[in-house]
Amino acid sequence: MDLAKTIAQGTQIATVAANLMPTVIRLITGSAAAWNAFAALVKEHGDAKDMAALADARARLQLVYEVAAREAQATQ
């Protein structure tokens, strides 16, 4: 198989997969916000970026957790 054909097939597969990803992400989370985050992150990936994004998400989730825990006991 010549190189040009291999590259063309690879590009086609990547394009199909990229088109399906928003739907796939929505399936996981049911959220368009997930797609927006995906679109932003997919441009610059790499383990360091992912680890930074995970650390940021964890801190934000911790805040959601603490506020929710306090509000679950709210009296007014």
Partner: protein, 138 residues
């Protein structure tokens, strides 16, 4: 179609070193970042419509205190599960398949989000929230 998407989802998360998406760890990272934004938005929106609080609408468009406590408990649990997803994902070596635990936790988080959406009063605030997040009440 749903089954096909589920298969594709598993493939996207499980294939090691998928160059287009940065691999399973990257896909899981993107997913949990999206879930984080969704939980934040739901919490902010719901807290602004608790009955009796400044700026909240009148009944039946506001959230009664007892329902607010219920919603907050669901959000607390969802955030706790999502934190576990970030921990599992952070520990995941690049290129390795996503552990089944991540799928299980994500399904649980999604179920809690659905419970919260059902507890919100139907009105323009909930409609705006659904539109903003792309969520549907199932």
């Amino acid at each position: 179609m749903r089954r096909l998407l589920a298969v594709l989802l598993v493939a996207a998360l499980a294939l090691p070193g998928c160059a287009s998406f940065g691999g399973p760890k990257h896909v899981a990272t993107v997913s949990i970042v999206g879930v984080t934004s969704t939980l934040e938005l739901i919490q902010q929106t719901e807290m602004a419509i608790v009955c009796g609080r400044a700026g909240a609408p009148q009944a039946p468009l506001c959230v009664p205190l007892s329902t607010h406590r219920q919603i907050s408990a669901h959000l607390r649990d969802a955030a706790g599960l999502a934190i576990r997803v970030t921990d599992v994902t952070s520990a995941l070596p690049v290129g390795t398949p996503t552990p089944p635990e991540v799928f299980t936790l994500m399904v649980q988080v999604n179920a809690l989000i659905q419970d919260v959406l059902k507890l919100l009063p139907s009105g323009k605030t909930r409609a705006a929230l659904l539109q903003q997040t792309g969520l549907e009440v199932r």
